[in-house]
């Protein structure tokens, strides 16, 4: 594009200011997580003199963030795996296997993916207690799977539509079974869709609070976001351990983001553009 040097620098400076606004609050949490409370009050801005790793130990053991962390890891990993498997099969069926009324089903699924959770919150709570799941892992995992499926099916279906039918037909003529074709030939082609879906599902549920707070309010079981908000409310001014607890929930997200970001653009736009 036609841009002269001066305006290029103005753009850079504006963007860098925005970058600081984005990065600094995150950086601040990581920084403060390594300061003792007294050091924090003396020096807010600078790096900690001696990293106070004790904050992490305190958050992890005494505030039980460690327990909540494992609870969340179990819940979210089962949810991600189950949602991916179910939605990949469903999306493929809808895209390529002559399911009757597929277009109508796709529209219904799309609408369901827009459904606000407020509209199904109470009955879901009643359903869970009728099924006797209250207070168990399944009371969180099964609804999470169900609620994530529509969007994930929709994204998979759009990607499967872009896989040329010739590949499928060639494989069928060679005598492959349908499931074999799907697992060995088609699924590897839509890896960006799998990664995108995994990202959305992971991020969507890793920090989820509304359902968890409704369902687990009277339970020993707590997910990480619930544990951290409870910790925040009980220890108002203990900045160091509180920031350490926040960092514990942030670090997996940052790591996950850095590993998957190259797929993200393709996935975000691929699934969205071909709607």
């Amino acid at each position: 594009m036609n841009t002269n040097r001066a305006s290029l620098w103005i753009i850079r400076i504006v963007l860098i200011l925005f970058v600081i606004m984005v990065i600094y609050p995150i950086f601040f949490v990581l920084l403060t997580s390594l300061k003792t409370t007294s050091e924090f009050y003396k020096n807010i801005w600078l790096l900690p003199k001696n990293p106070a790793w004790g904050n992490y130990a305190y958050a992890w053991n005494i505030a039980k963030i460690g327990d909540y962390f494992f609870t969340s890891v179990i819940i979210v990993s089962i949810t991600v795996a189950a949602t991916l498997i179910l939605s990949a099969f469903a999306g493929y069926g809808l895209a390529r296997l002559n399911v009757p009324a597929a277009d109508t089903i796709v529209i219904v699924i799309f609408l369901l993916s827009m459904l606000p959770s407020e509209s199904i919150l109470m009955p879901s709570y009643l359903l869970i207690s009728k099924l006797g799941f209250t207070g168990r892992y399944s009371s969180i995992i099964i609804p999470y799977i169900s609620w994530g499926l529509p969007l994930s099916i929709y994204i998979y279906r759009n990607f499967f539509m872009t896989v040329p039918n010739e590949i499928l037909e060639a494989a069928r003529i060679d005598g492959c079974r349908e499931t074999g074709i799907f697992l060995r030939i088609i699924l590897p082609v839509v890896r960006p869709a799998t990664v995108t879906n995994a990202i959305f599902i992971f991020l969507g549920w890793w920090g989820e609070m509304l359902w968890a707070s409704v369902e687990l309010s009277a339970s020993q079981l707590k997910t990480l976001p619930l544990g951290i908000t409870a910790f925040m409310q009980s220890s108002g001014t203990d900045w160091g351990p509180l920031c350490a607890a926040s960092a514990i929930i942030l670090v997996p997200v940052i790591v996950f983001f850095l590993f998957t970001q190259k797929y993200l653009v393709a996935g975000l736009t691929g699934g969205a553009v071909k709607g």
Partner: protein, 294 residues
């Protein structure tokens, strides 16, 4: 023909497990909620038919009216801010080289990845009156007079929450619109450049109209997401001060689980769904227009 039937059977088999989950926890609850909204029920005894009682009580209750008002205010203003800021990011980055641009996109997108609850907690630190970053920064640059108890004051609490929501949602708008802007052929801009159009004019008369469908999509996605206000508001203010920043999910939870009025909470859910649907249709109408092939 036989082939078609066989693949159909496989397809239906592939679909059934997912459909079961979705039916059990989305479709059935959706209709159940509708039924509940016409009943009076405390969660324990027998539900009684209540006609429109729940709807009337929701509409007459000042707290739930405020919750609806706040939900709409929050969703629309953060969507507006997010779309404008996201478009600004996209346009600025478009002028940089590929490599530089991808660095900025990565960073500016990152807030969209963070769990909302943690973003809320981060900004509780940010807005904290004594030790928070914002007040400390104001003191540092000699603007101490502008300090506020940001999240506890009437005039600032909601504005701060909306600011954070924009901070979080601009990145995904940028990603979508940037990809669309990149797809516009350079030659289209170049001809208008030769006609003497500046960069902003090029965007206004060529870039934005051509990517209008993507702007619409990004706006609708954002709006849908911004109606989910629970995590952010609950972590930042719990709906306070004095219920000023309360939104539908917060009041709904209270109505059902503290006041034991499941019917009214269900009616709120139904009304909320209608509000979301109407808002999305409204935005579609406003932003709809010709789309151009290029």
């Amino acid at each position: 023909m036989k082939m078609k039937q066989r693949t159909m059977r496989t397809g239906v088999l592939y679909l059934i497990p997912a459909v079961l989950f979705v039916t059990l926890f989305s479709v059935i609850p959706f209709f159940w909620n509708f039924v509940l909204s016409f009943q009076k029920w405390d969660g324990f005894g027998q539900p009684e038919a209540a006609g429109l009682y729940n709807y009337l009580s929701v509409l007459q209750n000042p707290l739930s009216r405020r919750a609806f008002g706040n939900s709409i205010l929050y969703a629309f203003s953060s969507t507006f801010g997010g779309v404008v800021l996201g478009l600004i990011f996209a346009v600025l980055i478009l002028r940089l080289s590929q490599k530089e641009g991808s660095f900025f996109r990565l960073i500016l997108y990152s807030p969209a990845m963070l769990p909302t609850a943690v973003v809320g907690i981060m900004f509780v630190f940010f807005f904290n009156p004594e030790m928070g970053l914002l007040n400390n920064f104001l003191r540092l640059v000699g603007l101490g007079g502008l300090q506020h108890v940001w999240l506890q004051e009437k005039g600032t609490a909601m504005a701060c929450i909306i600011f954070v929501a924009i901070w979080k949602c601009a990145g995904s708008v940028m990603m979508l619109t940037f990809a669309a802007l990149q797809g516009v052929p350079r030659s289209l801009y170049e001809s208008s450049y030769l006609d003497g159009a500046g960069f902003l004019q090029q965007m206004r008369s060529i870039g934005f109209p051509l990517i209008r469908p993507m702007i619409l999509l990004a706006t609708i996605n954002t709006l849908g997401a911004q109606f989910k206000s629970y995590d952010l508001i609950f972590t930042m203010t719990q709906g306070g001060p004095a219920d000023l920043t309360t939104t539908v999910p917060i009041v709904m939870k209270k109505t059902a689980f503290i006041f034991g009025s499941f019917g009214s909470a269900a009616a709120m859910g139904v009304l909320f769904t209608i509000v979301v649907a109407v808002s999305i249709l409204l935005i579609r109408r406003i932003l709809r227009g010709e789309s151009y092939e290029y």
